[in-house]
């Protein structure tokens, strides 16, 4: 029966002339479009990672907390994609940016595509990013671009809470049981090399910084490190001495994990282009 329905469906799709795969869009990455897509991709990819916990978190309360943070990020992504589409002005929209770009076209930080791992790893990833995002969006509220400034004002409040929530967990995991300490420390060691990318700036972004549209993330590293160090030491954990940092996400060179994430995120629109329900 299922087989029959499947063959009927396949036949119908063929008869309707629906293409079974959707091609990648092309994006005209002017500096402002690229800048906005980078932040949008950050929010979408981390939000999607958090959504993977839905129904799997250690306790019901944390299941809700993770989903809430994921939805905050999805909301940020939608606003940023919509703005990128408007700036680009070539008929793309939030869905096309999210569903019809391949791995190499994604511009998110490598940190954010890293797999959830155990709960400690998810929390450390959230903590490293939220401590940065909180500072970043607060500074971006002074952007000369009024849309970005408004998105920053909304995102900052959300990031502030993500930071508080993840900080409390880092302290409890680090200063908890032997096992939770070991897992939290392993997560810090594993993810540390992905934190440098948050503060990097390329030529495309330098122009926007000089124009007062974007802010320079480099000076945020000192206050970020101060926040991180405070929480980590209270948690009886340590930061690695390692200064070597992995980069590539901002220019589309990703870890092997992003492709798997996108295949799940995009499967529906890739298989049934333009499907709505």
């Amino acid at each position: 029966m299922d087989c029959f329905v499947a063959s009927l469906l396949a036949m119908t799709i063929e008869q309707l002339g629906i293409q079974m795969t959707a091609a990648n869009i092309t994006v005209s990455e002017t500096p402002l479009v690229l800048y906005t897509l980078r932040r949008a991709d950050d929010a979408l990819i981390l939000g999607h990672r958090l959504s993977e916990w839905c129904g799997h978190a250690p306790v019901l309360e944390e299941d809700m907390a993770l989903a809430n943070m994921g939805l905050d990020l999805l909301g940020q992504a939608r606003e940023l994609y919509t703005y990128a589409a408007k700036v680009e002005g070539r008929g793309n929209d939030e869905d096309r940016f999210a569903y019809l770009r391949d791995v190499r076209q994604y511009r998110n930080l490598l940190l954010l595509e890293q797999p959830n791992g155990d709960f400690a790893r998810t929390m450390v990833r959230q903590f490293f990013y939220a401590a940065f995002a909180d500072l970043y969006w607060r500074a971006m509220m002074r952007s000369g671009d009024t849309t970005l400034a408004a998105i920053a004002a909304k995102s900052e409040k959300e990031s502030a809470y993500h930071l508080r929530h993840s900080s409390e967990w880092i302290i409890r995991l680090g200063d908890g049981t032997e096992e939770s300490h070991r897992r939290a420390q392993a997560a810090i060691d594993e993810l540390w090399a992905f934190t440098g990318e948050m503060f990097a700036v390329d030529d495309s972004e330098r122009g926007l910084i000089d124009a007062g549209i974007a802010i320079d993330p480099a000076p945020l590293r000192a206050p970020w490190l101060k926040t991180i160090t405070g929480v980590v030491s209270e948690a009886t954990l340590v930061l690695p001495n390692n200064d070597w940092m992995q980069q590539g996400g901002r220019s589309g060179r990703h870890s092997e994990h992003l492709g798997h994430l996108l295949s799940e995120l995009q499967s529906m629109q890739r298989t049934f282009p333009g499907a709505t329900w």
Binding site: V59, L60, E61, E62, D63, M64, A65, R164, R172
Partner: protein, 95 residues
Amino acid sequence: MATPNIPLWEVFIRSRNGLAHKHVGSLHATDATLALQAARDIYTRRGEGLSIWVVPSNAITASDPSEKGMMFEPAESKIYRHPTFYDVPEEVGHM
């Protein structure tokens, strides 16, 4: 999902200025800070609140359901305690 050995908390939300905190439910959390955060995430997602209280469930002393005859039935026959035996002038409006 089982939540072994994690203390239970009662959650109270005040929805607007001038109103009282109302009991909305309970949750499990290891300590007061996390209980407050969990309450925020579970009970104020649709803009329900301006203020949250969390109270350890074991801090609440409750009346015994088996004593409800002694505790509550005597009040049922005292209708004169309701303020329904005098007229409120029209001009007073809603009290």
